[in-house]
């Protein structure tokens, strides 16, 4: 369990990190928290000749909502790729703006790994059951990538290609994740969200995960919904068409059950030694039902608070 020999660099700026990536190309790997990369190197599944440490770059540590989005547009919450999971977990502004991420982070690894692991690191690792990647897809986040030539953007929903394979180029660094913050659709609209998963043991990779964010009007009618499933497709899967079908409906038992059935038709899980494909389908059905119920209850509980 020892990595092969490699050389180490700790650039002082992002520009310098990009220059190093351009110079070494596929021979180099960026390391931030290292909570996925170091085990892969220990098992020699990854054998970079160069490790470029970006964990101390202040440029990757922003965590803030830019002020002043117009009322008819979604706001935006930008998170630097190097922000540690534990920092985002505790940040009051992030919790208020992105409650779905706050709920998801509780499922990510363990205290010790969240103290090192970063938001961006989890995304570029590309695990199909990664909670942070699923939230980025479900909320339709935008990813900012940088290389020595400039900056580009790609939606999270297009970033993941296959298990552990993303569209990032070897010379690129993920620098920022911009999460939409839903605008308020009417005076009494209530936002609710939920994240749930089944794993062998808390903190292990999820066999299947699901999350949902909904906005309901005062009568409990759905104004907007996003649903996603992890671990049941080659990539973390947002299901915008399923969310769109719920708009205008009351999220009663019948509507939720129909949505859970429909979700299963949209996934194509593979079986492995941890869970068969059929079991994953069953988990997806159950979990989509659970997160929709919980998201609705979360939204309605805020009505109680507002009324009181």
């Amino acid at each position: 369990m020892k990595a092969v020999p490699f050389e180490y660099a700790r650039p002082a700026t992002l520009a310098e990190a990009c220059e190093l990536l351009a110079a070494h190309g596929p021979e180099a790997k960026l390391i931030a928290g290292g909570q996925s990369l170091v085990p892969m190197m220990a098992m020699r599944l990854a054998r970079p000749a160069w490790l470029i440490d970006i964990s101390r770059l202040a440029e990757l540590q922003c965590i803030a909502a830019p002020a002043g989005a117009p009322a008819d547009q979604d706001g935006q919450f930008a998170v630097g790729a190097g922000v540690r999971q534990c920092v985002m977990e505790r940040d009051p502004l992030a919790r208020a703006s992105l409650p779905l991420m706050a709920r998801a982070l509780r499922w990510v690894g363990q205290v010790q790994t969240r103290n090192r692991g970063t938001i961006g690191g989890s995304i570029v690792h590309g695990d199909v059951s990664a909670e942070i990647a699923l939230v980025a897809c479900v909320l339709d986040a935008m990813l900012e990538l940088r290389d020595s030539l400039g900056v580009s953007e790609i939606p999270a929903r297009e970033f993941f290609l296959a298990p552990m394979i993303t569209s990032i180029a070897p010379e690129q660094c993920l620098t920022e994740i911009r999460f939409p913050v839903w605008r308020n659709l009417g005076g009494n609209a209530l936002r609710g969200c939920a994240f749930d998963e089944v794993s062998v043991r808390h903190g292990d990779f999820a066999l299947v995960s699901a999350c949902a964010q909904v906005m309901l009007d005062a009568d409990g009618r759905c104004l907007r919904a996003e649903i996603g499933i992890g671990g049941a497709a080659p990539v973390p899967l947002a299901l915008p068409e399923l969310g769109a079908q719920l708009v205008g409906a009351r999220l009663d038992a019948q509507a939720i059950s129909a949505a859970a059935d429909a979700a299963v038709d949209l996934i194509d899980p593979e079986g492995d030694l941890h869970a068969s494909a059929d079991y994953r389908r069953q988990l997806a059905r159950v979990l989509v039902g659970r997160v929709l119920r919980a998201a609705k209850e979360d939204a309605m509980s805020k009505a109680g608070v507002a009324a009181a």
Partner: protein, 163 residues
């Protein structure tokens, strides 16, 4: 050709250490093999078992998932650093003895590091919070109950002694 060495300066348990390390030397191997601080245990060496937990600037991390070179300029506390100044066991270590929270002892340093970090931020944790805090530490002997009891006992003793 010999591997390239990198100079590091790392504070461990209040003492600064200057060393030359290869890039691939993990933090746990640095502590055990170079500093001879063998209280930190190397278990799975790929981030699953938690036996190698140490405090990095006060926060619990897995020392098998870091390279020593990454901790240059930073401050670490290992299980040895949790003993009292005269070398006798600290309050948490005593509590682990008292409730029989150790059997083979392999997980114990990691458990105590995790528990220490918990009590520093949450002096009166509930059972669920305790179980969450040691959720990243595997014990194959005790069934965890005595470990939870030990942490409760230490929390109660700390609360008592500060009154």
């Amino acid at each position: 050709m010999s591997e390239k060495l990198y100079p590091v300066s790392i504070e461990v348990n209040g003492e600064r250490h200057e060393a030359q390390v290869t890039a691939r030397l993990t933090l746990v191997d640095f502590l055990r093999d170079m500093l001879r601080l063998t209280g930190t245990h190397a278990g799975c060496e790929h981030g699953i078992c938690g036996a190698c937990s140490v405090l990095l600037d006060g926060e619990p991390v897995r020392s098998c998932l870091m390279y020593a070179v990454q901790t240059d300029g930073r401050s670490l506390t290992t299980i040895e650093g949790l003993a009292q100044p005269d070398g006798t066991p600290g309050a948490l270590q005593d509590a682990f003895c008292e409730t029989h929270a150790t059997q083979c002892g392999y997980c114990t340093p990691g458990m105590i590091i995790a528990a220490h970090a918990l009590l520093e931020t949450n002096p009166a944790p509930g059972e669920q919070e305790i179980r969450e805090a040691i959720g990243g530490n595997l014990c194959r002997c005790t069934g965890y109950q005595q470990i939870v009891d030990a942490i409760k006992l230490a929390a109660a003793k700390r609360a008592g002694s500060s009154m």
